[in-house]
Amino acid sequence: MNRWQKSVDEIQTRKRQVKECERALESLSKVIACFQQMATSVGSNLDGSFLREEMDKTRAFAHRICTGLHKKLVPLLTREMEHGPEEREQVERLWVLFLTGLEQLQQDLYKFSELIDRFPLRGRNDHHSLVKTGSSGGVSGVIALAAAIQTSWLAVEGEQSPDLKMHITQIDSLIKEMLQKVSIPFWTVEATQEAWAEAAQSSDAVQDQDESLEDMMEVDVVSQDAKMSGCCHPTNCKLGCMLCLFT
């Protein structure tokens, strides 16, 4: 009876841990996406010390998530005996996805470090050379989104977030270590999603917004006379856009 109870407890603990890892992976994905969105503004006219500070914060956050997830995931994998095949598959999948996420993050960090070197923002002249990309708003929305990522599962870490270059090398070594520690043939991992599935899943509420977005991108066609303005028909008037194209 006791043994049975213990094993049930164990199973439940494991399931919980796996769930936590999944959520951690989602958070990691969110953080990476936010970081990338912010990185696209570096070097542009939106760039500034504020942006860079926020990016550093996000980066530190990402670092915490990575280390936390790493800590959780490794023991799950190294204890081989106690998993059922399905669970094993799931954990392996998480492993592969985690590695992919780390690589993505590393790439973004590389780019970020390059961009910082190229646009140092030291003096006035440097500000002049920022590329005028046409962005006007800020990235505050993104920052808010990043801040809203839940990390309740993350035990409070007292670690210092590393310097940028250090961070990159750390991720590198982390990846290498992970590859060596557990040998999982990553081609055995299969996607749970079908191809083209994500298209069907998007909600309808945002459809109108997106359509107008597309229109704005397409309708940038200017008529042949010297006017600089875009099309002057009301929004959502596709017919109007067509006419605009032909004028």
């Binding site: 992976l25 989602e26 994905s29 990476i32 990338q36 969105q37 990185a39 696209t40 503004s41 570096v42 070097g43 006219n45 592969v96 996805l97 992919t100 690589e103 993505q104 790439q107 590389y110 390059e114 190229r118 646009f119 002049h128 050379s129 920022l130 590329v131 005028k132 990309t133 046409g134 962005s135 006007s136 708003g137 990235v139 929305g141 993104v142 989104l145 590859l179 991992v189 299969e190 996607a191 999603q193 191809a195 083209w196 599935a197 994500e198 298209a199 069907a200 899943q201 998007s202 997106d210 977005l213 991108m217 309708v219 940038d220 066609v221 200017v222 600089m228 303005s229 875009g230 929004t235």
Partner: protein, 659 residues
């Protein structure tokens, strides 16, 4: 995770991307609020987006800044667009600068092309997934294809890709509307440059990746200076040509080849790289029956052009065949084969070539001047790849000055010219182009192509001689040599003669083509055989038995039959080297006289049926009567003549093992 190439130590420096650093400097200059390009806000329906520039402004700025003409500024601007530093807002798939009011915008540095790393497929997959979400599955044709293939190859990380796509999409929505538009335009432009849709020409086509970063400043060590010194010393020593002469040559070349350059004149029917239609390649294949008019025109430019085109060479070969001077081309091809062949076969090839073309009394003797012949034969003692260069050049010039001119006026060429096809240019619509792109298929594997080439060569080798110079009616090669093995037990003769792919067909043809050696007498009667005497005019032996007899005599003279005949077999080069001998041209051997008889003797061609054999048969010994001793005794002087063809360098080298 990504499959990392083990050999990739992060060294992915792409040589043509060296200019990126300079382009970035230009871009930064353009941003200057005072001296840079003027930008305006773009007014859209619900909002205004700043920082849009016109093509005209860009071109004018470039022309002013660098003091160049408008056309050059245009092409510079197009380069900026093709690299992805500026993107067009209208007509986003065509990466060119239009010097009018068309609108452009600067690309954000995050999306600038980077030299250090190529663009990852993972990112492209995320982008496609994002686009899929936004457009609900309505992707373009090429995007759909890419999506499917990426889904297959990246299946193991597909979940992450989708997750990331959703998150990026959500993060993007957090920005204000105009920024979203700008960001989407930027991203779209980025992928148009790096994964161009069919029909778009981007500048991301680079060559091989290099191990060393060409952009790094080289440290000025003593090694660096030493290299500069050597380079300048060599430059001083270089021979010079007047610039009028060299420029004249360049101009002449450009004029001649203008219409044949696919960059300057459109290919007929269409450039396969651009339209994905392979008609052009099919029409210009190596062994096509009717060549195109352009191809035939190229043959008239120079002799080198004619020879380097396999179809042209085939035509020329046909012409020479009719003129009975095919040995020159055969020799030239044999030399090429020697030059480009494997090192292992070089010795044998050199010997074969010597025996077939250069030796006195060789079957396909070529006519080169004495000095060249001397030099060549001497250096053949130590054969190497370029040992026949002088002779080959001589023959090349001979053909060029003599045969080439006649070829161009010959009916063969005129016929080819008349039959040459002139295809009409294709005019594909956009949908047709897309259909072509979808129908792309890989061509034949190179393994299969090589097999076909070898079969072709085998067919050519067995199809008979190129030159039809003999009076002898037996001109077809006889493949079976076991007949000649005679009664002696000898090392087994390879009956199935392997065709050496390395040896080109000219060598395999052992038909005598030298008029001087024409000693065949067609199936003369027994009486004529009397003529064979010490002067040794060759006799045709008309009966197999006689040949067998004479062979017997030969055998008893101590010649190892298999090696004799094997050595003379065109298809068996391996034992050829063992003991085949041509009388050396050097005066080591005193038995040079009578030259004619010897010359006749050396016409031993195994492939000819016995009736045509010439053997230095003593007229007295026609009827075999066991006069072995007589044979041996009488032939004292011709003993040496009975020797096999000696390659002169063989004197110095020991016997190789029997093949």
């Amino acid at each position: 995770m990504t499959i990392r190439n083990v050999r990739d130590h992060g060294q992915r420096y792409r040589p043509r991307m060296e200019c990126l650093k300079k382009v970035e400097a230009v871009m930064l200059e353009m941003q200057d609020p005072k001296t840079g390009v003027k930008s305006q806000p773009q007014r859209l329906v619900i909002t205004t987006i700043p920082h849009v520039i016109t093509g005209e402004d860009i071109v004018t700025w470039l022309a002013n800044r660098y003091s160049i003409e408008k056309e050059e500024a245009c092409s510079l601007g197009t380069m900026l667009v093709a690299f992805g530093y500026i993107y067009p807002i209208q007509d986003h798939k065509r990466l060119v600068i239009k010097p009018d009011a068309s609108l452009y915008r600067f690309q954000t540095p995050y999306f600038w092309p980077a030299q250090q790393w190529p663009v990852e497929d993972t990112d492209y997959a995320i982008y496609l997934a994002k686009r899929n979400i936004r457009k609900k599955g309505m992707l373009e044709m090429h995007e759909q294809e890419q999506y499917n293939s990426l889904h297959k190859w990246m299946n193991h990380k597909w979940d992450f890709i989708v997750m990331q796509a959703k998150e990026q999409y959500r993060a993007g929505k957090e920005r204000k509307k105009p920024d979203r538009v700008v960001f989407d335009c930027q991203e779209r432009a980025y992928w148009v440059v790096h994964r161009p849709p069919p029909g778009t020409i981007s500048a991301m086509d680079y060559g091989l990746e290099r191990m060393v970063d060409p952009n790094t400043e080289e440290k000025q060590t003593s090694d660096y200076f030493r290299r500069i010194i050597i380079f300048t010393q060599q430059s001083i020593m270089r021979p010079r040509v007047k610039s009028s002469v060299s420029i004249g040559a360049l101009v002449k070349y450009s004029i001649t080849y203008y219409k044949h350059d696919p960059f300057l004149t459109p290919c007929l029917p269409s450039n396969s790289w651009v339209t994905d239609d392979v008609t052009f390649w099919m029409l210009n294949m190596t062994n096509v029956e009717t060549p195109t008019k352009m191809r035939v025109e190229r043959w008239t430019f120079s002799f080198g052009e004619l020879l380097s085109d396999p179809r042209g060479r085939a035509d020329f070969r046909l012409f020479l065949k009719k003129e009975f001077s095919g040995e020159n081309l055969a020799f030239w091809e044999a030399c090429e084969d020697l030059k480009w062949g494997t090192a292992a076969t070089m010795n044998e090839k050199a010997q074969q070539i010597y025996k077939t073309f250069l030796a006195r009394g060789a079957p396909r003797w070529i006519n080169i001047d004495g000095k060249t012949m001397e030099v060549t034969v001497k250096s053949l003692k130590h054969p190497h790849r370029y040992v026949l260069d002088a002779a080959q050049t001589h023959i090349f010039m001979l053909m060029k000055k003599d045969s080439y001119g006649r070829y161009l006026k010959s009916p063969v060429f005129k016929d080819t010219q008349k039959r040459a096809i002139d295809p009409n240019p294709h005019r594909f619509s956009v949908t047709q182009l897309e259909a072509n792109a979808r129908k792309r298929r890989p061509s034949l594997s190179p393994i299969i192509v090589r097999q076909q080439e070898e079969e072709e060569r085998a067919r050519m080798a067995t199809s008979g001689p190129v030159d039809i110079t003999q009076l002898c009616r037996f001109t077809a090669p006889v493949p079976h040599l076991a007949v000649y093995s005679g009664p002696l037990s000898s090392p087994p003769f390879p009956i199935c003669l392997p065709h050496t792919p390395a040896c080109p067909s000219p060598i395999s043809v052992t038909i005598d083509s030298t008029p001087s050696d024409r000693r065949w007498e067609d199936g003369g009667g027994a009486g004529e055989r009397e003529a064979v005497d010490q002067e040794g005019r060759g006799m045709a032996v008309s009966s197999r038995s006689r040949v067998a007899l004479s062979l017997g005599r030969l055998l008893r003279r101590g010649c190892n039959p298999s090696t004799v005949f094997a050595s003379l077999s065109p298809k068996c080069p391996a034992p050829a080297g063992t003991s085949s001998r041509v009388q050396p041209i050097s005066t080591d051997q005193t038995i040079q006289a009578p030259p004619r008889s010897i010359a006749n003797f050396f016409q031993i061609k195994v492939d000819i049926p016995p009736e045509c054999r010439i053997y230095p048969i003593d007229s007295e010994d026609e009827e075999e009567s066991g006069g072995a001793s007589k044979g041996i005794g009488g032939e004292g002087e011709t003993e040496g003549q009975v020797k096999e063809i000696i390659c002169p360098w063989e004197c110095l080298t020991p016997h190789q093992g029997a093949g």
